[in-house]
């Protein structure tokens, strides 16, 4: 339908596109409109929003959804020709310019949400857990385009100059995108870039930028304001797709800022209340600048797990998820959310979530307590196999480490003290930091690593060149010769702090004995200097090196004559060993620390150092992954140094393992050919001491659970508390899968849920008696008071435990037997009765966790 006067025409249409007029169709429509001189507007008749037809952003912001009626109004010169062209486009081409994009991987909606939350229909966003824990707070979205305050508004803005800058930056960005299009080989990629190109040339955007400059903003400030404006505008759309276009406009504004400022500045973050920070990525300085008290969890879109920020988040013990695609679009600022970085998801806080996590906290508390009790009951206090120290890079982290019962500081990274400032830290400043660390350690050893700085970090006072390959470049100990005064001031500061308590010095990135000898000379020089001034310090301070460069491993006999101790830095050692850049996810994942080649290398290193009677620890990420523990015990390392948050769990695991078990596992691992085979050996359940089939802690009397779900959860939690499952969710799923066949109610108020799964670490019988009977099976309306849960490991096959299960199952048919289970008052009475009735008092099943200590 066309109507209109001489040079003003109008037609209406109904949007044929399922996702509405989003970026790509809008960019085509704007392209057609832009061919003509005339004025052209589009009105969404559903919501009354009016857009300039020549602006992609304007069209998107009009929020045109499938079947929305729209009016196009054209006026001015060429109005009739333009109307005809636009109408032809709308009728003939619009419906076909919406090729769906390939779905993003990582936007998976798997079923890893625990059953109780799934049942409560909790929506969630998944990610990869990087640093364990649970954090709760208000969402704060860190926009990449936030500028530091000091760039703000300069006192004098020359409007003409700034307008020129804006114009120039827009052109440069368009040119850059145009280049990318030339080299883009996939049709979808090129379509996305085309839409981006249209957006960068959008009249609405340009107009907004110019308006901001005319109102007194500098060019960069105008970009941030325009970005905020459009992200907000698009964010208000009801269409998910349109909301996500905020990311596109952000991308363009980022490029503009880069163009205008010659780089992307880091912004500062000021939190005021318990917060969950959401960002694409975050710089280490930025992270350290945040008040730890309010930062409850961190969500990063980037998935690099070895970025500095990631490593730092872990060592600070901040619950962190990485690889959360589109997190900044799917989470709304100010929303109260809970981050479960044990399982790997974010959920909005609701009564169901609160209830679930209150229970969860209680379970964790009981698990910790149970572990302490196990340790106490074992009667072998402080069985020394391996020390657990902490990695730290700030006073805060050191405090966190000792709160978590660290045996010492295995690695104090000092480079953070040197980064992010214009002048180097003074000797006095450093003495204060190191002395504070020693005080927190309260007599426990602190290993301070001298600064490890290289070309990947900008340090204004060090004049380091940017390198193509900084990891193989001028870094670590290699820069000390040219920056000897900086090293001297650090060494003097460390020595002075050593007067306060035991400190050891460690050099980073040593590749040759020559370097170490130089380093020793530098330490003597610093000592001499202090002696001359009669400043006190600890004499004969121990000097060690990091083993990060493979060459060291082939000269250990020489090193051992001169070096006091060693610490294996697996992050760099693996990347140099396999020649695989650890920051490049295309290669880093294929080279595992569990590869037999690497394990053989480690074994050789540890054996040689021990043969020389020296001490060797490990401070890389390998030490912090609990699954590696048997291998590390087998290697016979003297210490593991890990982030504060990992210490307690690691200590628990160490208590449950013997060095003998570790050695036998390591020897099998060394015989493997592939990393995969080693990983199969390490399935966590395959090691550990046998737990008895039945024990008092698995008899839960007086339960107040109200539903079948709660009962099963309570029983699974008991398994977790007493170390009989590491994967509660999998165990729960296995039980429910069995329930789905048919209800396990037996009649007579008894039920017998069961599962066969390796999610349990020991075959177990768990008994729960309810205060009030509950409904077990809604179809039969059966009520239950006693629940007997049988859990069996699927890889164990037929064994004598199975015999016990089958006789227990048979006995449940016996009324007298059931009566006993109903009447006994204490767990002890019940276990004693079952022992008698089922013949459990045989050696096989009465082996207790407490009676078989490791042999050393």
């Amino acid at each position: 339908m066309i109507s209109g006067e001489a040079n003003s025409m109008q037609f209406t249409f109904s949007c044929p596109l399922a996702s509405g007029l989003h970026a790509r169709p809008a960019s085509h429509l704007a392209e057609v409109a832009n061919r003509f001189e005339c004025e052209c507007t589009l009105t969404n008749l559903r919501n009354g929003l009016v857009a300039n037809c020549k602006s992609v952003l304007g069209i998107i912001a009009a929020d045109v959804r499938e079947s929305d009626r729209c009016a196009v109004h054209v006026s001015g010169t060429e109005a009739s020709v333009a109307t005809a062209a636009i109408q032809r486009f709308v009728e003939e081409s619009l419906s076909s310019c919406d090729v769906p994009l390939a779905p993003l991987d990582g936007s998976k909606l798997s079923d890893t949400l625990p059953r109780a939350l799934r049942r409560a229909h909790v929506s969630c966003v998944f990610g990869t857990p990087l640093s364990r824990g649970i954090g709760q707070g208000k969402t704060v979205i860190l926009s990449r385009i936030a500028l530091p305050r000091d760039i703000g508004t300069p006192t004098q803005v020359d409007v003409q100059v700034e307008l020129e800058k804006v114009k120039g930056a827009l052109e440069a960005v368009r040119e850059r995108i145009g280049e990318k299009i030339k080299y883009c080989i996939t049709p979808t990629g090129s379509a996305v870039l085309q839409a981006e190109l249209a957006m960068a040339g959008d009249v609405f955007l340009r107009q907004k930028l110019e308006d901001e400059v005319r109102q007194g903003a500098s060019a960069p400030r105008a970009v941030t304001r325009a970005a905020e404006f459009f992200i907000d505008l698009l964010g208000r759309s009801e269409n998910e797709y349109v909301r996500q276009r905020g990311a596109d406009i952000e991308e363009i504004c980022l490029q503009l800022i880069e163009e205008l400022c010659g780089g992307l500045p880091e912004s500062t973050i000021d939190l005021q209340e318990p917060s969950v920070l959401v960002a694409e990525t975050i710089g280490p300085q930025q992270l350290l600048g945040i008040h730890r008290r309010w930062l409850k969890a961190l969500i990063l879109e980037q998935s690099a797990t070895t970025s500095h920020a990631a490593i730092l988040a872990r060592s600070l013990g901040i619950p962190t998820l990485v690889g959360v695609r589109n997190a900044r679009q799917s989470l709304m600022p100010g929303d109260e959310v809970l981050v479960d970085a044990n399982r790997g998801f974010v959920v909005p806080l609701s009564p169901a979530v609160k209830r679930f996590y209150e229970r969860e906290r209680e379970t964790f508390r009981r698990r910790r307590q149970a572990s302490v009790e196990r340790g106490r009951d074992s009667g072998i206090p402080h069985r020394k196999t391996i020390e657990v120290g902490a990695n730290a890079s700030s006073g805060e982290e050191i405090n966190a480490a000792f709160e978590n019962q660290a045996d010492g500081i295995g690695l104090f990274r000092t480079e953070m003290i040197f980064l992010g400032r214009q002048e180097p830290p003074s000797e006095e400043e450093q003495v204060a930091i190191y002395a504070e660390a020693v005080h927190s350690a309260n007599g426990k050893p602190v290993i301070i690593r001298t600064f490890d700085i290289g070309g990947d970090k900008k340090v204004p006072y060090l004049s380091l060149q940017k390198e193509d390959n900084p990891f193989l470049g001028y870094r670590g100990i290699r820069i000390y010769a040219r920056h000897s005064e900086l090293l001297q001031s650090q060494l003097r500061a460390i020595l002075r702090a050593s007067a306060e308590g035991p400190i050891q010095i460690m050099a980073p990135m040593v590749a040759s004995i020559e370097e170490f000898r130089e380093f020793k000379v530098a330490v003597s020089r610093a000592s001499q200097n202090l002696s001359n001034k009669e400043i006190s310090f600890r004499p004969n301070i121990k000097i060690g090196i990091m083993i990060e460069v493979p060459s060291v491993a082939f000269a250990l006999d020489k090193f051992c004559e001169e070096v006091d101790f060693f610490s294996i830095g697996t992050n760099d050692l693996t990347q140099y060993f396999f020649a695989a850049d650890r920051t490049n996810s295309a290669v880093s994942s294929s080279f595992s620390v569990r590869h037999p080649a690497f394990l053989r290398f480690l074994q050789q290193i540890v054996e040689q150092i021990h043969a020389a009677g020296k001490w060797v620890g490990m401070c890389g990420a390998m030490a912090a992954e609990p699954c590696n523990l048997p291998l590390l015990l087998g290697l016979g390392l003297d210490e593991l140094s890990v982030p504060a948050a990992e210490i307690q769990e690691l200590k628990q695991k160490i208590a449950a393992l013997s060095a003998e078990q570790g050695r036998s596992l390591l020897s099998r691992a060394l015989a493997c050919a592939e990393a995969k085979e080693v990983e199969e050996l390490l399935v966590p359940q395959s090691v550990g001491q046998p737990a008895p089939l039945l024990s008092e802690e698995l008899v839960l009397l007086e339960s107040t659970s109200r539903t079948k779900e709660e009962v099963i959860q309570e029983m699974v939690d008991a398994f977790y508390v007493h170390n009989r499952t590491a994967d509660r969710d999998a165990m729960e799923e296995a039980l429910w899968a069995r329930e789905a066949e048919y209800s396990t109610g037996l009649g007579h108020a008894f039920a017998i849920p069961h599962c066969k799964t390796d999610a349990v670490t020991a075959n177990s019988i768990c008994i729960l008696r309810l205060k009030e009977p509950i409904e077990w099976d809604s179809i039969q309306g059966e009520r239950v008071r006693v629940v007997v849960l049988l859990a069996m490991r699927s890889s164990d096959g037929a064994n004598s435990h199975m015999q016990v299960f089958s006789s227990l199952a048979r006995r449940l048919d016996d009324e007298d037997f059931r009566e006993h289970l109903l009447k006994y008052e204490t767990p002890r009475q019940i276990t004693t009765y079952l022992d008698q009735q089922l013949g459990l008092a045989t050696p096989l099943v009465s082996v207790s966790t407490n009676s078989s200590p490791g042999r050393n």
Binding site: G747, R810, D813
Partner: protein, 99 residues
């Protein structure tokens, strides 16, 4: 009456054995003589011999999965019920046999 039976359930941990116990008990109250083979997580137990099967008038299969060695029962009258039937209403099974 002389009877034989097989019980089997998917996990083979609990119900296979409970059903066997139930059938043995209830058979007695009906005055039958019964031998029950269990096919569970421990494999086949209390295995029915050729002789057992030949002498039986009826074989009861209380199973949720395929019976192992089904061919052994060729030529015997078989009553097959879901395993749950043996737990919830074993009397029903035996009354059916009586008729």
């Amino acid at each position: 009456m002389k009877l034989v039976a097989v019980t089997a359930c998917p996990t083979g941990i609990a119900h296979t054995y409970m059903a066997a116990a139930r059938l043995e008990k209830v058979a007695k109250t009906f005055g039958h003589e019964i031998k029950v083979e269990t096919q569970g997580a421990m494999g086949i137990e209390n295995k029915l011999t050729e002789n057992d099967i030949r002498q039986a008038q009826i074989a009861i299969f209380a199973v949720d999965i395929e019976v192992e060695g089904r061919e052994r029962f060729n030529g015997v009258k078989v009553i097959q019920v879901p395993l749950q039937e043996a737990l919830k209403n074993p009397e029903g099974i035996f009354s059916k046999i009586q008729r």
